[in-house]
């Protein structure tokens, strides 16, 4: 199976690899994993408390090219968005953008889970109640 050009690009030049200060109140950390393939993904966001905008996003992923590309793309997409908008990103958007084949769909699911986990962590730290229907907010992903 050949990787798409976009996957190869993200794999060779991953965007936003790194770490944010986990203890900061402005930072949310999401750590997710797929038991089937052993991939682990850590995605972190720094949210501006005034504007609720994700100003910084970093990731570190141990896994296949598609998992790295999915998380790299995810950080690109959530940067500059408001928290609630970032929650609207669907794994299918990632599949489409990266032309992931069916066997790699779980990589995109992992990336979506990582975004949600990071935002969930940030909300918990900041006492923001989980908005029940955030999933229905419609925002174009690209």
């Amino acid at each position: 199976m050949a990787y798409s050009d976009k996957v190869v690009d993200h794999y060779n030049n991953p965007r936003n690899v790194g770490t944010l200060d986990k203890s900061s109140n402005e930072v949310g950390t999401g750590l997710v994993g797929a038991p089937e393939c052993g991939d682990v993904m850590r995605l972190q966001i720094r949210v501006n408390p005034e504007t609720q905008v994700i100003e910084e996003a970093k990731f570190k992923t141990f896994g296949c090219g598609s998992a790295i590309a999915s998380s790299s793309l995810a950080t690109e997409w959530i940067k500059g968005r408001k928290v609630e908008e970032a929650l609207a990103i669907k794994n299918t958007d990632i599949v489409k953008e990266l032309s992931l084949p069916p066997v790699k769909i779980h990589c995109s699911v992992l990336a979506e889970d990582a975004i949600k986990a990071a935002i969930g962590d940030w909300k918990k730290k900041n006492g923001v109640a989980e908005a029940a229907e955030t999933a229905h907010v419609q925002v174009a992903a690209q």
Binding site: V32, G33, A34, P35, E36, G38, V40, V109, A117
Partner: protein, 234 residues
């Protein structure tokens, strides 16, 4: 993929024409070898499909059947019988290797019962929520992540020809810890066997579900341990 269990359809022996259960290697009536019976490892040993097995009896039966299938015994047999004896020997060996190993046996039997375990189902587009973080061993994620960081550092150190004894020590400690977790999973699996073997349908279903999750976790742990070993041995 696999044959349905309990395929006790009687067929006539090619040699003596007496009907027998098609899953026997030899005709119970005239003792002639029978055409290969297909994929069920339990029927090779005429065993009930159970997780609790008498391993000593299994080994004895393996040796007995191996002797019976030995090529010397077919020196003057027909070509078909020679061919069958070879095919049966291969099947017998596979069956023995699978059934004597607790993990492989559990995986095999659950798969025969329709369970999806391991890599095969990972690519399927499962309904959202059944996959991803909810299925990952959440309790281990931190350690798995840290372990991966250490493995990466170790590889980089190796690549530049450095030796990092502190890192090596912490990796081997991590490896020991994950091996301990593997042993725990093995015990947890074992604890489900009797429920699966003897329970009613709901109990069996519940045990099966638990074991599928444990086997996924086991696979995850083995992959990690293997990766650490490879890194340290490199």
């Amino acid at each position: 993929m696999f044959q349905v269990l309990d395929s006790a359809v009687p067929v006539a022996c090619w040699s003596c024409s007496v009907a027998h259960n098609e899953s026997t290697l030899f005709c119970p009536h005239c003792s002639k070898i029978q055409p290969p019976i297909g994929g069920n490892y339990y029927s090779v040993f005429s065993l009930e499909p159970r997780l609790n097995l008498d391993l000593a009896a299994l080994e004895q039966e393996f040796h007995r059947l191996s002797r019976k299938l030995h090529p010397d015994r077919f020196a003057r047999a027909t070509d078909s019988e020679k061919e069958w004896s070879l095919a049966d020997t291969a099947l017998l060996n596979d069956a023995y290797r699978t059934l004597r190993d607790p993990l492989r046996r559990t995986e095999y039997l659950l798969k025969l019962h329709g369970a999806e375990i391991g890599e095969e189902h990972s690519g399927k587009d499962r309904p959202k929520g059944e996959m991803g973080a909810s299925r990952a061993p959440a309790d281990l994620l931190e350690e798995v992540f840290d372990l991966n960081m250490q493995i990466e550092e170790m590889r980089m150190a190796r690549a530049s020809g450095e030796d990092d004894p502190v890192l090596a020590k912490s990796l081997s400690e991590a490896k020991a810890k994950f091996e301990g977790l593997q042993a725990e999973v093995d015990n947890d699996l074992h604890a489900q066997w009797t429920a699966w073997d003897n329970g009613d349908e709901p109990a069996r279903q519940a045990a099966q579900k638990t074991m599928v999750a444990l086997l996924d976790r086991r696979r995850y742990l083995s992959n990690l341990v293997r990766e650490v070993s490879e890194t340290m041995g490199a």
